[in-house]
């Protein structure tokens, strides 16, 4: 009996309008396979979310007891006492300087790709490839590069060297984010400006950049959040510093939060490890909040520009 006739006639072979329309035979096998695949896919997604929860929770329970206002606003006393103020300030210095270097380069590169290079330009193609390669560079290698370029000639590790390495990490992220948003700026705006006889550079400065500034800013925030947690370049370039002092001298070693975690983990002092967990939690929270905030803002900017 064919599937169709079984469906209509029921198992008895006579037409039975009350028989439930359940798949049978080959169709049943197909739906079972289909359902299994859906369950597997759902389970995989749940596993990934569970992984995030496990990591965040694992850091949270170990770090939350260290968190306090004093933790964020005192300098350390000895190996385990006090807070991590100088490390937070150091990270802020190094990352802010890196972002200051990276932002203009990233935005200008994005502008070049969208406003000045033709869509089929060879130069733009190789520049995009270069950005891809730069983004794919292992960050520890960026650290080695700047070590050879700056630390060896100057004979001193410095926050500045770390900033430059972080800038190299940030430039491709910022360039890509700017390029993305600039592509969303409607062409009618450019054409309108052209029709009024405005210079290209003036169009860019007064029409295109202002309408893309929100997207560029969120891209920058995401890149900065990425750089703030980078440890490998800081480990190579900025690992010799006075651990108990707040410093603004970027030409010498500057303490940073990732280095605090890296160096405290294997210390045989429970208080130092607890402090490292507190620092890890604070760093993670700042990065995740920056990410969530930037994403929400980005989604809103995009929706606004797409209208």
């Amino acid at each position: 009996m064919s599937i169709a006739s079984r469906l209509v006639l029921g198992e008895s072979g006579r037409f039975d309008p009350t028989a439930p329309l359940t798949p049978s035979g080959n169709l049943r096998r197909r739906t079972v396979v289909d359902r299994t695949v859906r369950v597997i896919a759902t389970a995989a997604a749940l596993a990934a979310v569970a992984m995030l929860v496990i990591v965040v929770y694992g850091v949270f329970v170990r770090g939350v007891s260290s968190l306090s206002l004093a933790f964020a606003f005192q300098t350390p006393q000895g190996l385990a006492g006090g807070g991590i103020f100088n490390y937070l300030v150091g990270t802020l210095e190094v990352v802010a300087l890196g972002a200051t270097i990276a932002l203009p380069i990233g935005v200008l590169t994005g502008l070049y790709l969208t406003e000045f290079a033709g869509p089929r330009s060879r130069v733009a193609g190789s520049l995009k490839l270069a950005l891809d390669v730069m983004q794919g560079l292992p960050t520890i290698v960026v650290g080695l590069f700047i070590y050879g370029l700056i630390v060896i000639p100057q004979h001193v590790q410095s926050g500045l060297a770390a900033s430059i390495a972080l800038a190299i990490v940030m430039v491709p992220l910022m360039a890509r984010a700017s390029q993305e948003v600039l592509l969303l700026v409607p062409n009618s705006l450019r054409e309108a400006a052209d029709a009024l006889g405005v210079n290209r550079w003036r169009t860019v400065l007064t029409v295109i950049l202002p309408s893309a500034v929100g997207g560029i800013a969120t891209g920058a925030i995401l890149a900065i959040a990425r750089a703030a947690g980078e440890t490998a370049p800081v480990l190579i370039l900025d690992s010799i510093y006075n651990p108990n002092q707040t410093t603004f001298d970027i030409f010498h070693g500057v303490p940073t939060v990732p280095m605090l975690i890296f160096t405290s983990v294997e210390l045989p002092i429970p208080e130092a490890v607890a402090r490292a967990w507190g620092a890890a939690l604070l760093l993670m929270l700042m990065i995740l909040i920056a990410n969530i905030g930037a994403r929400v803002w980005l989604a809103r900017t995009r929706a606004k520009m797409a209208r």
């Binding site: 197909r30 990591v55 590169t109 390669v133 590069f145 491709p172 990065i287």
Partner: protein, 301 residues
Amino acid sequence: MLFALCALAGLLVVVTLFDLLYQLAGDATPAISRFGLGFLGHTTWKPGFNIEGAGALIYGTAVSSALALVLATPLGIAIGLYLSMVASPRVRATVGPLVEMLAAVPSIIYGFWGLVVLVPFVDHLEPGLHDALGFIPLFGAPSTIGISVLSAGIVLTVMILPIISALSRDLFLTVPEELKDGAAALGATRWEIIRGIVLPSTASGVGAAVVLGLGRALGEAIAVSFVIGDVNAIHLSVLQPGSTLAERIANQFQGALNNLHVAAMFYCGLILVVIGMLTSIAARAIASRFDVNRTLGGGVL
């Protein structure tokens, strides 16, 4: 004027890349002239005796990354399918960013968490794995504390999972609705649509996503350095400690014994750069056939 500035910025990017290669090769020269290409195959690493070879490091890098790929590829594709084909748009809008958040967590935190939480767990897991699968050489006698290539592979899996899943989700979403509707109208189930339409039309893009994940896994230094043990040995068993190129640099650069030791690590860095560039170019070559947009929520990944 502005054009000149923009072109200059682009030029700076390209020049930086070439200077990076030049600089690394220059600083690695003492090691290159002493060990030559034999460095790649030589497995002794004794800086005190001025003998360095990256054989064991290359082996460890390959095995830990392969392990991560084997785990993360099916998982990542399944997540991509869930987000694009199974979940409702509302669930997608919540779960998708959550998965991408895995990429935002810094590697130092994965390392610290891996050492304190994952390694003891793997330590519990390993005897069972060895008993069940010990006939495969990969699951030989376990190490005693859970610091192993397997732990490194698991940490790397978590780190590259968001890359593969977010990229494949974006790819699956680009499959034209008409094709999927057409298959559905012919009576195909969701799985048959996936197998017959979605996967074949995005296969090369997914391949590019996997290669990008591989690139990230190969170059990860900090997280791996916490959980792999930095032991310069080639064990067939992934339950034993090992070492990788990037992790070796992170572990030993500050305490380098002499100039040759530093140069050897620059040599390792040079190998990493070449591998990294090749993976980026390969991913782009695979993806460019489909002009895959690999930006992902503003480029966090």
